[in-house]
Structure formats: C-alpha cells, structure tokens
Symmetry: C2
Subunit: 368 residues, 2 copies
Amino acid sequence: MSQRAALIAVIVAFLVGIIGSLAVRPPSGNTAPAQSTDSTRAAQRISWRVPIAFATNLPVIGDAIVYVADTLSAASNGAVNLQVFEPGEIVPPFSITDAVRDGKVEAGYTWLGYDQGKVAAAPLLGAVPFGMEPWEFSAWWFDAGGRELGEALYAKQNIHILYCGITGPETAGWFREPLESLDDVQGLKIRFAGLGGKVIEQAGASVTMLPGGEIFQALEKGAIDATEYSLPIVDQRLGFNRVAGFNYYPGWHQPSTSFHLAVNLQVWNQLNPADQGLLEAVCTASVTRNLSRSEALQGAVIAGFPDVGVSAETLPDDVLRKLEEISGQVMAQEAARDEDFRLIHESQQAFRNDYAKWKSRAYLPRDF
Amino acid sequence: MSQRAALIAVIVAFLVGIIGSLAVRPPSGNTAPAQSTDSTRAAQRISWRVPIAFATNLPVIGDAIVYVADTLSAASNGAVNLQVFEPGEIVPPFSITDAVRDGKVEAGYTWLGYDQGKVAAAPLLGAVPFGMEPWEFSAWWFDAGGRELGEALYAKQNIHILYCGITGPETAGWFREPLESLDDVQGLKIRFAGLGGKVIEQAGASVTMLPGGEIFQALEKGAIDATEYSLPIVDQRLGFNRVAGFNYYPGWHQPSTSFHLAVNLQVWNQLNPADQGLLEAVCTASVTRNLSRSEALQGAVIAGFPDVGVSAETLPDDVLRKLEEISGQVMAQEAARDEDFRLIHESQQAFRNDYAKWKSRAYLPRDF
C-alpha cells in the first residue's frame, strides 16, 4: 500500500469510527467465556470482540495485536479467537478501557496513557518522560513489583490488564522549523500525549491531543505547528514528513512505550486457568516480538530521510537537561495530587536506582 | 539454600551426571508425540525428556526452562509436559545437542556456543564478542533473517532450534589480581567459553573450558587463575567471589547470551501445528521473562559486593579497544574457515550497520 493510500485508509477508518462509535453494539451472544476445564469441551473457548487504538495497517504499534490474535488462534487450534476491530469501528480510540470496564466489549488493546484524564497514574504504565528503557520496564513489571501495582490500579476500573507489547523510544516529534532552544516551543501549537504533553505544556507550548488518524490533516491545515506520535516508520506512514521536515531525537518523552490488553475483570475471572495462562504467555511473547520489530525497522527509515526531504535532528543537550528538570517537576506535582501515582512512581524510582548499578557497569560504551 | 549448599548441590549433580552419562538411557515408551489434530484427543499430547546445561537452582540461566515447562503445562492444561533433567543427570552438559540429534532425547535446553567444536557457526547464535545487545539480537532473529539462518544451520544437525531465552551481558570475569593492561593476561590460566575464549587465547591467555559445576573447585585448587562464566548473581552463587576478589566489567565477550530449545527434527515435524505454535509462543515469552529477570537481579548483587569482599572493576578503555581489534581478527579467521560462519556473520554485520542509524539517534545519552 502506498503512503497516501495508507493515509486515506487511516482517515476513512477514523471517520467511520466516529459514526460507528455513536452506537456501540452490545456484545454478541457467543462471547461468554467457556467455564469448563474438561479437555473434551467444544472447540471454541474464547470469542472476544477486541477494539484497538492503532490501525492494524500501522507497522509495529498496529500489527502487534494481529500477532497476538494469530498466535492465540494457532496455539489453541482456533479455540481462542480475538475479533479485532479497527480504531473507532465499534469504540472511539481513546475510550477503549471505558468500553471494557462497562462490559460493552470483553477486551481491548490500547496505550494506557490515553486514560490520563480518569486514571492519573495510568501513564506510568505506558510511558514516562526520561523514564525506563524497554527492557528496564519489563524488568520492573515482571520482577520488581510493577505488575502487581498495575493490576491493582486497573482492578479499581473493573479491568484486568496484561502487558502485551512495547516499543523503543518514539521520535521527539516533527517540526516545521528547527528547535534550537526551549524558547522555540513558546506558544507552539503541538499535538502531544501523556505525561510528556504536560511537560511540553509546562515548557510553554499549547498542547492538543489527537488520535493518529487526525494528525496529518491538522498539520496540513495549520491547526497545529508540530506533533509527536510514534516511531519513524509509523509517523512517515501517516505522512508527517510531507508537512513537517524536521524530525527530532532522542525520544525523551517516551524512552519506551508499552501496550496492554485490557480484559473486563469478570470476563477474566471466569476464564479457566489454562486459558489465562495461554493469554498471558502470548502477550508476553508479544512483548519480545513487538520490541524486536520496533528496533529492526527504524534504521532503514532514517537512512531514507534524505530521499523524502526530512532532516533527522538531535536535540541540544541543554534543551534535554531543561526538559528533564521540568519532567521532575511534573512528576512531583502528579505524585502530590494522586496517591496511586505517588506509589507507582516511587516503586519505579526505587527500581531505577538499583538498576543503575548494573546498567552503568555491564554494557559496553555506546561508541563500541 | 545457602551459597555453599547450592554449590555442593551443583557439584554433586555434575558428578552424578558424569556417571549417568556413561549410559544414556533410551527414550521411554510414552514420549512419541501425538499426531492427532482432533480437539477431543487424550490429554497428554507431548511428554519429552529435556536435559539442560545449567542447573535449575541457578538464577536466570537455570530457571528459564522451569518457566518454559511450567507455562507450557499451565497453558495446555497439562497436555504439554517437559520432564527437565539436571546437567549431567542423563546427558553431559556439553553434549545436549548430540543427544537431541541422535534421538536419545526429544529435546534439550542449552547454550549453542558449546557446539563450537562441531558447528563452527553455532556461537554466532549464542554470543559474539563486541556483538549485539539482547534486544538487538532479538530484532535480528525475528525481523532480519536470523531465525531462518539459525534454523537452516541446525537442520543440518537434524535439529529444530527455538530461540528460548536471553540475558544481558555477562561479567568480563573473576580475577585474583587486577587486570590493568592486556599484558596481564599473558600466560594466565583462565576458564573461558565460545568465541570470547578464542579472543582471550589470541591475546595470550591459556584457555580451558569447564562446565559451571567444576569451576569453583578448579579456581580453589589453583588449576585456573581466573574465570568467566555468567551473570554476577550466578557467579556469586557458584562461589567465585570467595576465591577471586576482582570482578570485571563490561561484558565485552558476551554483550548478550541467548539460549535455545533444541528439538529433534523428526519429533518437531511430527507435532501438530497448534503444539508447534504453543512451543514457539512460550519460548518467545521466555525471552521476555529471562531478560527481565537478568536485568532485574544484578544491581543488588553489585551493591552487595563490598560486604563479600569483591571489588567491581571496569576494564580500561585501551584494553577494550585492543580486545575489539583481536575480536575482529578472530571473526575474520572463523569466517574464512567456515562458509556458514561467513554467511551468518555477514547477516549480523549488515543488520548492525542498519540498526546503528536508529541506536545512535533514538536513545537518551547514557548519563540521563
């Protein structure tokens, strides 16, 4: 599919979604999970409707759920079936966990940072400015109490979350003009998500939140001056390079971006332990596959920038240091306002202090 | 279990193995894989004997197969059963793929670098000096042709390999005396494995290969002066800190160490696709879990070094540069001697050149 065709598909999918989302269909009759643990039970054990936040034709962030659904189906001989619905097709992309919480769908696949407005601590499970690198997040999640904290946070929302994907850093964004000092973001109209959005807002930008499918048009029409969204291969697919020629690095606002499968808590609790085990294993496999694909595909995109008129740029060190300082202030503000945020933030900080003793010793210098 | 008790258990397990391995038992009668794809088939579909190279009481390198076996059993409701045999119990730790190739066991879990003597290219799938970091190896394996090359290499050995675990860097080793220049390794009797062993040998050391269970005694008796083996938490569990007080970093010889489940090719081909899919998904999940545990547990061990009389040391930059130069020579020698080595090495180098364009841009500087 050409870039333009892909772009149009995304926009159409989103507009269809706007209409479709006005009337969220109730779950169909065959979606009740099987409760039998008898190995001779009928073939279909799980048939869930799974809305997603990122179109499946987007590399890395969109196709991870396809891997999950295909692998579940293959490993269960078709007995575990996720019916994936494109962004907005049955649920708006920013309302996925609402639909899961209320039982309108059994599960959804999303970035929990979009829940920032109703669950203040949610972005800590999705992406943190100057936060953990991908493998560091996995280590915290599985071996330093992260999972327990995350599950408890979302149990209050009537949701069981499974860690089900992660990518490396996003790009720091696409700009029409060079960003030489932090003064350059004063009054800049920029699309930005999550805690990074609060940081860049505190730095003086005018921040708006848009789903992936709306960003290109907003940039093209001048409704926004700049945007961050995702990885180079995703952003280029969405056409940002055609309306903003400067692509900045490093991804200070999201050194890793993790994704979760959110399952309605009653639906999860009614599953038999084998199916819970299978879902968890396949989501954990998706973490490896998603990060692998994320790391593998970006180098070629950056190498091709000169051919499509993009300049890859690195933010000056003093800009990064200033953004880090503001990030610290934003994290402290959020921790003071919300107890769950404080608890999870402290757990992450404690782990990072410990991890630093290893990270600083074990790896070769970056210039090897 | 105390460190000493764990150490004795490892040594006993190894000595028992030496005796046990003199008569490798043939597969028992119930190990033939089920070929039915009928969902009403009897519960037990897979029952394999799986010898391993690292004792299950060793953290990270030893317990990954326990995760794999437990998860397979849970997700299949007990229908997929790996019977894990400790190192040497039925197969010597360095002969696991021989037993799999010859059908003496259905599968085994090991580090393919131990096959260096019979499959020259095997260490490229296990660990490469100044080679890929863990997530980079995964990206090459899944998304840049690594898996296809690895599978083809081992199909010649009558084996299907599944990538089934990875850790971060090993330590660069345990030494009785400080290592201030490369002259200090001249004539040093050291235990070293894989391609790193060839490099340190070329640098002037006298290299020997010993399984984990034999290293402590060799160090204590002075049969060797120094050793590398694994991660800080593993090496300390084996007692190296009690006979060699200097623990060096970074892990130049193994920036990542990957592990594989080796399955007899006929056994693999007779599996139904669903069980193949389940095994592959759980092994891929093990990659996430193994790396997470590897990254999570080392910081506390390093923090505790002063209490157990260990000095953590960083190799001087000029020593690393010289070792990198020798590594390049060793890689070129091996590539010239073996066509498979050349082919896989070139694939890895091509991927690394591409990946570097991303790595150098995307991540924050190491001092953030």
